[in-house]
């Protein structure tokens, strides 16, 4: 897995424009564009939107925590990334995938009880990479089947 940090990605995507968020519907990964607004509200963050050829990026900033949600051109969230002094509430960001994530995380913990600072989950319909420590948490989650054709995953780091 090659996952660069979201802040690196942001540096190359600085052509954002303001977007007025729609009222919250439901949250996050796999959800529609409305869910981004829900996340932003839940995370008490500010929202910024960037449109690219293959996908859109919605960036939520809450204090020092930055969350990026990646949407297909059809408006479905196919990936989220985060970085900040504290980790985000993943129940909010992963939405309907949280249950699967939680089961996989528990299994990973039991398989490698020493791995507290890092989690790598790679399943057919969900990939999560989460790591960090004191004041420095970051991660990425995506749904492989939703990733638009031609998008290199390491772009999303």
């Amino acid at each position: 897995m090659t996952i660069k940090h979201p802040s690196i990605l942001l540096a190359g995507l600085a052509l954002g424009m303001a977007l007025t968020a729609a009222p919250p519907a439901r949250a996050a990964l796999g959800g529609n564009a409305d869910s981004v607004g829900a996340d932003s509200t839940a995370l008490q963050g500010q929202l910024r939107s960037t449109s690219l050829v293959q996908y859109d990026v919605e960036s939520i900033t809450s204090g020092a925590l930055v969350v990026h949600e990646y949407l297909t051109l059809a408006g479905q969230v196919f990936a989220v990334t985060w970085a900040g002094p504290v980790p985000p509430n993943l129940q909010q960001l992963l939405g309907s995938y949280f249950g699967e994530f939680q089961s996989a995380a528990l299994a990973a913990h039991r398989a490698n009880p020493g791995m507290r600072r890092q989690l790598d989950i790679s399943q057919s319909d969900l990939v999560v990479e989460s790591s960090g420590r004191l004041r420095d948490f970051h991660g990425l989650a995506y749904v492989p089947s939703l990733v638009p054709a031609g998008v290199a995953l390491n772009e999303l780091q």
């Binding site: 925590l65 970085a83 900040g84 129940q91 995380a105 009880p113 020493g114 790591s131 420095d136 970051h138």
Partner: protein, 682 residues
């Protein structure tokens, strides 16, 4: 006597003749004489001597068929043939052996010989359990099998023969002796030349005394066992040693340091005891320039298999023992072993179970502190891990002691304690709360920061961390911004002295690892009288926001920042670094472990990275390291030097980095050895 008799008789006879009738036969010759003899049958051996009239003898050759005495007798003279000496191995008898000489030679004093009866030589055998026993009587030998209870020599001996049974070869591991070994054969088989065997007394079994010497980097160390046997050691990576003199099973051993090495102090642990039935290899000799201050500003660190209650021990966790006392009752103290030393976090966190059932002392009950906003509610903390998990529990105050250092009234987190409510965010994907989750009784966070979260937690944000919890019905916990001064602090800051940072030193260990490794945690850097001067050659200033410095690896620059950079982290049990991040594709196999959490290169690979100040200033410091496949490392070894795994964006110099190094960790804003923290140095 024979001689006199032999010649007296003829003389008497001639006198009689002369006086009796000689005058009537004047001119007659001497009387005629006749020989005495007979046939011999069955004589096959030499040695037969016959005797006539007790005086005349004749020796008969083997196989003779007749005999004749040399002396002839006159008519009317009595004769009596007897056996003077029997032939060897035969017994002869005489028929018609006596009579009176007539007018002819006597030829019918016949001798008949037959072979003598023989008798066997033997006896009982007792105690023989092994093969190899050979008994002998002269040239006659007999091999006796293991577990035999009797023996018999093959050659029979006639009566009168002297025998002498000896052991010509002893059986394996036994010694045999023969009773009644020598005597003369009578008229029956000999059955009392008894053999008795006993196992040889084994030479006393001895066992060697030895163990492992760790951290020795100077010359001059001499160890001594039992006050006499000396072992001179030379500096090197942790290595095993053995005293020259072995000790008998059950004997005592006592290993001491006879001469300390130059500039270092070596401490012996598990150095004395009784030898069981195996070599002693458990003596640990731990050497360090810091060991002299053990118990003052230095405490022992052990990398080992951790608390017994942990179900699946994890390698590369450094443990110390912490003493925790109730501030309201300072003599009520718990001794808690197996607390993990973590340079990657800040704050002391203890499992509630470790406080209620400590390793020593007495159970303690810590008083929670009030939320500074409400002055009433308790503070709940969700301590977060990079993997998404969390540990939930209240913040309380404690008097914390390590060695002679004490932080009084310091805020600590009590994990998995009873709380008034639950965190709204759930506190992580998986909530850690028991010994097995941590493989420790707690975590001693001694990183570069003053508090655990800093300004990232002073306002309520997307991340759940601090909560205010009310017992008012319904009890609940809600996220709250926590002022920095009220956050869980670095406990080192609470010490009266030696409070600007720590040094964590572990010994160099072999590539294959060790079951345990013994090091030292030193408090203070360059503090007065602390023996803790900043002797590092590399000092890396860290970003005060992110705690990281900058690492260059595989062509990529991992700049200190949000989610990137380098860190020296004793709380990570391997070196975690990007697998294929950078211009140079250099992917290391991770397939040997499900989930790919660790690297599996075959053969081991040598890699290099450079560390530099967080802002890129100064000269980069090159670090060479080796990664071996985790599949090749013994699960018996809890100290492993060459383990690594993949991560993203950052270079986590985990515990393997500490082997063979003293790592200095200076706290943000504190002057330590002339340089202000936050920094890492080695």
């Amino acid at each position: 006597m024979k001689h006199a008799y032999r010649w007296t008789a003829p003389l008497a006879l001639s006198v009689l003749s002369a006086c009796g009738g000689g005058s009537s036969h004047p001119g007659s010759t001497a009387p005629k004489a006749y020989t005495i003899g007979g046939s011999i049958t069955g004589l096959t051996a030499a040695g037969l001597v016959l005797l006539d009239n007790g005086g005349d003898t004749t020796t008969v050759a083997a196989n003779a068929t007749s005999y004749t005495f040399p002396t002839a007798l006159g008519t009317g003279i009595g004769y009596a043939v007897t056996i003077h000496t029997q032939p060897t191995g035969e017994t002869c008898t005489i028929t018609n052996g006596s009579g009176t000489v007539g007018s002819a030679n006597v030829t019918n004093a016949d001798v008949s010989c037959t072979a003598s009866p023989t008798y066997t030589i033997g006896g009982s055998v007792s105690g023989l359990t092994a093969s190899g026993l050979v008994l002998a009587d002269g040239s006659d030998t007999a091999s006796v099998a293991a577990n035999a209870t009797s023996y018999k020599l093959s050659t029979g001996l006639p009566s009168g023969t002297t025998y002498d049974v000896v052991v010509s070869a002893q059986p394996t591991g036994e010694t045999c002796t023969v009773a009644n070994a020598t005597d003369t054969v009578g008229s029956a088989n000999v059955t009392n030349a008894n053999v008795s065997c006993t196992a040889n007394t084994p030479p006393p079994v001895t066992y060697t005394i030895g163990g492992t010497i760790e951290g020795l980097t100077a010359a001059g160390l001499v160890l001594q066992d039992n006050g006499g046997d000396n072992y001179g050691a030379t500096a090197g990576t942790a290595f095993s040693f053995t005293f020259a003199t072995a000790v008998a099973g059950g004997g005592a051993y006592a290993v001491t340091v006879k001469t300390q090495p130059t500039g270092e102090t070596c401490i012996v642990s598990d150095g004395s005891g009784s030898v069981a039935s195996a070599n002693v290899t458990s003596v640990i000799v731990s050497c360090s320039q810091y060991a002299a201050n053990l118990g003052s500003n230095v405490v022992a660190v052990t990398v080992g298999n951790g608390p017994a209650a942990a179900t699946s021990p994890v390698f590369n966790i450094p443990y110390v023992t912490v003493k925790v006392c109730e501030p309201s009752s300072p003599t009520t103290c718990a001794i808690i072993n197996n607390v993990e030393v973590d340079t990657g976090s800040v704050g002391l966190r203890l499992l509630a179970s470790a406080l209620t059932a400590p390793d020593g002392g007495s159970p303690v009950s810590l008083t929670t502190i009030n939320d500074p906003g409400t002055h009433a509610n308790t503070i709940g903390e969700c301590w977060r891990f990079g993997g998404g998990s969390g540990a939930w529990g209240p913040v309380a105050t404690a008097n914390v002691s390590l060695g002679s250092e004490t932080a009084s009234g310091v805020e600590v987190q009590v994990i998995n304690d009873v709380m008034d409510g639950a965190p709204t965010g759930g506190c992580g994907t998986v909530q850690f709360g028991n010994v097995s989750d941590f493989d420790a009784n707690g975590v001693l966070g001694v990183g570069v920061m003053q508090q655990d979260c800093g300004t990232g937690c002073t306002t309520v944000s997307a991340g759940d961390y601090y909560y205010t919890c009310t017992s008012s019905s319904p009890s609940s916990c809600t996220q709250v911004g926590m002022p920095v001064v009220n956050q869980v602090p670095n406990p080192v800051m609470g010490f009266a002295q030696d409070n600007n940072g720590i040094i964590l030193q572990l010994p160099a260990i072999p590539d294959a690892g060790l079951p345990t490794a013994n090091g030292y945690l030193v408090f203070g850097i360059g503090t007065a009288g602390g023996g803790n001067a900043l002797t590092a050659t590399t000092v890396l200033t860290a970003d005060p926001n992110y705690t990281t410095f900058t690492t260059l690896y595989n062509g990529a620059t991992l700049t200190a920042g949000n989610g990137t950079g380098g860190i020296i982290d004793s709380g990570s049990n391997a070196l975690f670094f990007p697998n294929d991040n950078g211009p140079t594709t250099n992917v290391i196999d991770t397939s040997c472990i499900p989930g790919g959490a660790f690297y599996c290169p075959e053969p081991p690979i040598s890699l290099t990275a450079q560390n530099e100040n967080y802002d890129g200033s100064g000269t980069p410091s090159t670090v060479n390291f080796t990664i071996d496949s985790i599949a090749d490392l013994s699960s018996d070894n809890y100290a492993l030097d060459d383990v690594g795994g993949p991560t993203t964006g950052s270079f986590d110099w985990g515990l393997p980095f500490f082997y063979g190094r003293a790592v200095f960790v200076a706290i943000d804003g504190k002057s330590a050895g002339g340089t202000t923290g936050p920094y890492y140095a080695y």
